[in-house]
Amino acid sequence: MSFLQPILLWALPLALLPILIHLIHLHRRRTVEWAATRFLLAAQKMNQGYSRLRRILILLLRVFAVAALILMVCRPLAGGLLGFTGGAPNTVLVLLDRSASMEQQNLSTGVSKRQAGLTKLSEALEKAYRGRSRIVLIDSASRSPEAVRHASDLTQLPTSQGTDTTADLPGLLQDALDYTTANKTGRTDIWIVSDLQCTDWDPTSGRWETLRSGFSLLPGVKFHLLTYPGPAGGNLSLNIEHLRVRSGAQGTEITLDLNVTPTITPKTRSLFPSELPIRFVINGSASAMRSKLENGQLAIKGHTIPLGSGSIRGWGRIEIPADTQPADNVWHFVFDAPPVMRSAVISDDPSGIAPVMAALGAPADPSRNYQVDLLPSKQVSEIAWDETGLIVWQIPLPATNSNTSQLLSAHLAEGRSLLFLPPATPAAESFLGISWGAEVNSDPRNSRKHLVVAK
């Protein structure tokens, strides 16, 4: 037999509480001056055996009741003869929350919630089911079922390691439902290892109703929740709000805004240091500074790190000392000279498009470079597709399914911008369902044609 909450076994001595209460009562009985003692003695003599036996039995029952209650709270798992709940299920589905919050560590043991849960679960499954059940792991990161040969492998699998992702527990349960339904897993125990983060569980999601009705149709499914809901106290979370590389008169430097926020619990309120060392590593060169924490919080605005001359490209990281959540102690970044903001203007009317070109080339951000390429319709193939962020198209729309049309679609699909301006002679071609419509002259004094886009 093993326990999912073995620490609560320390409460077992509480089972002796009824005996203690009995002894206290024995000494706190009220005193009665009694004349007919001879009948009391006679009654005591008559009842001696039965009364004592009854008292002992009641006391033992009370002790057992308290002990059973404590053992129940410890969540025992029993196999073999003790597993009187029906033996091993056919399938054990382990739903593992691999979100970053599961990496919170116990300061004294250095073990994360995920590791602790998996270790506990693997031991429990090993002892309770002894390899008689098929174990399948579905983790929140990959969301794909993976058969596990032995319960002890649970802690070693790549798909059971920590990630910096969030978890979608309703989705994970949907995966479990799909797997159970598709594979006809028979009697199934579903073990959920999670820290019950509200964002991961999304309790207001409408999917829970679907899940509830879905699982209600599967009679042999039992759920077990192995949870570590308490936030690990003493955690400081490093966050870089803004980081930029600037070139100035004194050379290139990195400017950053950082803040440190604590996870405060009543127990760990006093655990935070008054000063926090922050380490900056840029291209392998480390520097450090100490900053004062106020109520465990720290905010630094505009901290600059000089890069020296000529070095505007590289990598770096910012570190704070290890705490219960290692995932938010280090912030990695890379930097480089800002890329050129490149635009391409496709037009056969250079004079007409000149104002647009002037606007695109204007340095809206002085720290960046802007480049505008003017290409006539015959040189469309020369567009630098990978480097151009905005294409201004003032020639007839490309033919459907043409190579140019496909390139433009890919350009849009990558999140870049495309601006169509009416050509001198619009054709009937369409692009992604958009085509030029009839000319509308809304202002008779103005002889220019106005664009109407119509399907």
């Binding site: 001056e33 004349a35 009391l40």
Partner: protein, 295 residues
């Protein structure tokens, strides 16, 4: 008019009184004819009987005399019992009231009143030496002494009821009405023997058996430590476990007491401590008042 204390049987008194005497006297009540023997007073010869039967008979009349009332008070520790729930009189105080009233009534009708204690004296009152027995005497002064003694005597210690009854039987030589006030917490077989001893000595025995409802019902609701009033016994009892057995033992014992008083032919009154003592006395006196045809 107050109810008199009447003797159930003839008593031998020293002066004339309200009670029938075993010796012949000069009252108006005819007793029997007796053959004339020389020396008898000729004035008592029944001439009419001589005329009818030609034999000499002497007419004899009943004699009325006073009685001796001995109040025997059990002063063992158990007489200090008081109901813990109702906070009423304790048993010895209740017995004092009954005993004192009876003594007063007896003295008022000219009877001699005596006093005996059964048990060792408890704590002495103001270091005053209190007699354990007073012989039966008439007179207001003696009544005062008896009443003072009844009021001063203290209960305590183990019971000596049986030995005291035997002692009383031996030492009270003349017929008397012996009124016992006790809880009778003694061995029934020994009690039977002691009462039979009193009866053997021709005493008219009356027992006021003083009990409390709490002692009979034993209706405690939680475990308690029971300390024996007559000794050092300490019983830790859970009423839930023991009440049934206790009540059974108590019922058996009362059945035995009933058997003893029935076989001994004595007057027996079971008195609850929550009863009004005047009602108890009225009941007792009425029960002893002879019917008009009985004499």
């Amino acid at each position: 008019m107050a109810l008199p204390i009447c003797a159930r049987q003839a008593v031998i008194g020293s002066v004339s009184g309200l009670h029938r005497s075993p010796v012949r006297g000069s009252s108006l009540e005819f007793a029997e004819y007796r053959k004339y023997v020389p020396g008898d007073d000729l004035r008592r010869l029944d001439w009419r009987a001589w005329g009818r039967s030609d034999r000499h008979y002497v007419k004899e009349f009943e004699a009325d005399t006073n009685l001796r009332l001995i109040v025997l008070l059990d002063i063992s520790g158990s007489m200090n019992f008081r109901n813990t729930e109702e906070n009423g009189l304790n048993r010895i105080d209740y017995a004092r009231k009954l005993a004192g009233t009876l003594a007063y009534l007896a003295a008022r009708q000219g009877d001699a009143v005596g006093f005996w204690t059964a048990g060792n004296q408890g704590k002495k009152k103001k270091n005053k030496q209190i007699p354990t027995s007073l012989p039966a005497r008439r007179g207001a002064t003696h009544l005062g002494t008896v009443l003072d003694t009844i009021g001063d005597v203290q209960a305590g210690g183990p019971t000596t009821l049986i030995s005291s009854l035997h002692e009383a039987a031996e030492q009270i030589s003349q017929r008397a009405v012996i009124v016992i006030f006790s809880d009778l917490f003694a061995d029934p077989a020994e009690l039977r023997s002691a009462i039979q001893h009193l009866r053997f000595r021709k005493h008219d025995v009356v027992v006021f058996h003083l009990l409390d409802q709490q002692e009979i019902a034993f209706d405690f609701d939680r475990p308690a430590r029971f300390i024996d009033l007559e000794g050092a016994d300490l019983v830790l009892a859970d009423p839930e476990d023991m009440a049934a057995a206790y009540r059974k033992a108590f019922a058996d014992w009362t059945l035995q007491i009933d058997g003893i008083v029935r076989s001994a032919g004595i007057d027996y009154l079971r008195v609850m401590l929550d009863e009004n003592y005047t009602e108890v006395l009225t009941r007792f006196l009425l029960a002893r008042t002879p019917k008009k045809s009985a004499r």
